[in-house]
Symmetry: C2
Subunit: 376 residues, 2 copies
């Protein structure tokens, strides 16, 4: 599996953005987030974990993007396809890249688009954003969703990376009996599951979550408890592992010792819902259609919430499987199908798989679970 | 080691903020980032990895903070000390918490402070930020650095957590000969080092970095290569591991097989610089003073860059050890001392330790390395 992308891929992404910019009358895009900068450059580093330095990419109306970045990143950016790299010694409290960026934007003709819509954020201090706007005396607007729109349709090379990390997670899930069982604390299982993901080839495990209580769990975002797993618990583990900057995001449920009829039935229903959406998922179908076919099986109506989403360079990105989201599926979209169900009062079970939309039937990229709830 | 904090700690943080708000004439603080929300609530979840949902906390002039959050987090927030939790079913593209937040801010008297300065960012879409500002018809301003100022001085309980994760990392570094040596790829060492950190008790490893080349390394932010380590390489590993939401951030250098005189000399100089800053670090000394004592030893002058920073809930936060940063040290600050040195042309070596400022001499919280460069 090759790391990175051929230069042609970054060129194609840039040209696609520029075609859309021309339609929208934008003179440039100004990007500040890890994923947006990486999408157009291939600049991959975990250094973004530090909030101390802002990073900027300017995509002009024609030609290659221009990087305006801290000098600590200039060598690494120099190994990407980007030629024009303007850097300053950051952090500099007096002028933390502001004038350098304003100069760069000063030469742009036409309004500058900044991602401002759903799921975006500006990764720089608001005060410096205002300074750049004032200094560059430019017209700023939103990016018309151009970046999110491009990122929603994955290339074959991107899909291969997501498929690769899905396979890694599948092998880690397959070793669950090595680390979990009656008497083991869920917090220890969390720690060991991250270890298994690394052993199986993940570069990094930015996200895991889960839960374990009798017949289900109360929620899926709480930290793991130190209490030992008990017979009759339903344990769920969900992962966000990364390979070469791309995520998988799917889960597995396991019964500890024994599974009640309620738990077995709930799990079978979740698999039925997932399969129904999987069968339906093809170009032309809408996100809300996938939501409905699953919601009709798991129940809960509008209260069922979001039953899946897109993924890629982020754990979650793009469309949502909700009653409101009318996004039409296109080949190259990578989705999670994530139905949830009430098992007994106050206890839920959530199942999740990853698929890719193709010209015809969707393709499973996580190793789909079967109806039978595994017991460990 | 107890997880979380007693309620008294959150109350003290809130009251300290409110005292500062009164001085600055602010009616409320509006917080959107993971660390700022967690600082005042204890709301700890890795779910922030998903950018799909914004989270808000409003700290009023008096009384407990008010959480305005997606319903998926209401149960977990309900287990914190926060009583007033207002939630909506997110994501909702039509109104993603905007009107709920505007209503909440509507009742506030006086300007609303939003963190806008160095190292901050607004973790919500810019377009929704503008909508909230318009709908609430409020006066918005920056937070006068109140949140960063409070977070800079750690409580004993916070220091204990950072010390705990420093100890975990120390045990993982102590096992380096299990995973690294001639012929092993640095990418494999990265993976295994994360595994060791988890085995030794880290909850999570958000960040590692490093490098390995003959006599030093070119930079410290690039992904690890698949090339095998060679005799004479100097390998550095730096961690960002987390326990209960608090980071360590220090590194170790190792020579593969043998260390050249240049490498040994450089390492000894780095230890000398670290020790000099450690001896000097006490209340009243400025960040730039620590920078100078190290820069004078490692050379490089202004080009030496940042030679350390504060840390805590973030890998890097607060002051910087640079020539410009005049921040005065106070008891309770937790710092990294991070000198770097040119070993041979184009190759650097970086050393890093973690310390806490007390009323008297600083205290080491990472297990300080000695002058001798370890050979594996």
């Amino acid at each position: 599996m090759m790391r990175g992308f051929p230069e042609a891929e970054f060129k194609a992404r840039t040209q696609a953005a520029q075609a859309r910019m021309a339609e929208e009358g934008l003179g440039a895009l100004w990007l500040t987030s890890e994923v947006d900068v990486r999408y157009f450059t291939g600049f991959l580093t975990r250094f973004w974990e530090s909030p101390s330095r802002p990073w900027h990419l300017v995509v002009p109306a024609a030609g290659k993007p221009i990087a305006v970045i801290p000098s600590i990143g200039a060598a690494l950016m120099g190994r990407t396809w980007i030629d024009d790299i303007r850097s300053w010694s950051a952090p500099n409290l007096a002028d933390d890249g502001v004038s350098l960026l304003a100069d760069t934007l000063g030469g742009i003709e036409g309004p500058v688009g900044v991602p401002s819509g759903y799921e975006t954020h500006l990764r720089m201090p608001l005060a410096d954003f205002e300074r750049v706007k004032t200094m560059s005396a430019h017209c700023f607007t939103d990016d018309r969703g151009i970046v999110a729109g491009l990122r929603a349709i994955k290339s074959d090379a991107e899909i291969a990376k997501i498929t690769h990390i899905c396979g890694i997670a599948g092998r880690a899930f397959g070793r669950m009996d090595e680390i979990a069982g009656e008497g083991v604390a869920l917090s220890q299982v969390f720690r060991d599951f991250q270890r298994l993901l690394l052993e199986e080839g993940a570069d990094w495990v930015p996200y895991i979550s889960g839960g374990a209580e009798q017949d289900g769990y109360g929620d899926v975002i709480s930290p793991a408890k130190d209490d030992p797993l008990q017979v009759g618990d339903i344990m769920m583990l969900d992962t966000g592992a990364v390979w070469d900057g791309y995520f998988c995001d799917y889960d597995r449920n396991f019964a500890i010792g024994t599974a009640s009829d309620a738990a077995q039935g709930a799990h079978a229903r979740l698999i039925q819902a997932t399969d129904a959406a999987f069968q339906m998922a093809r170009p032309g179908v809408r996100a809300c259609d996938l939501w409905k076919v699953m919601a009709d099986i798991v129940g809960g109506g509008e209260g069922a919430g979001r039953l899946g989403h897109a993924l890629g360079m982020q754990l979650t990105e793009g469309l949502s499987l909700t009653p409101q989201d009318q996004t039409v599926l296109h080949p190259g979209m990578v989705l999670t199908l994530e139905p949830g169900i009430d098992v007994v009062a106050g206890k839920i079970m959530v199942h999740e798989e990853n698929i890719v939309i193709t010209e015809g039937a969707a393709r499973a990229i996580s190793p789909f679970a079967t109806s039978e709830l595994p017991v460990i």
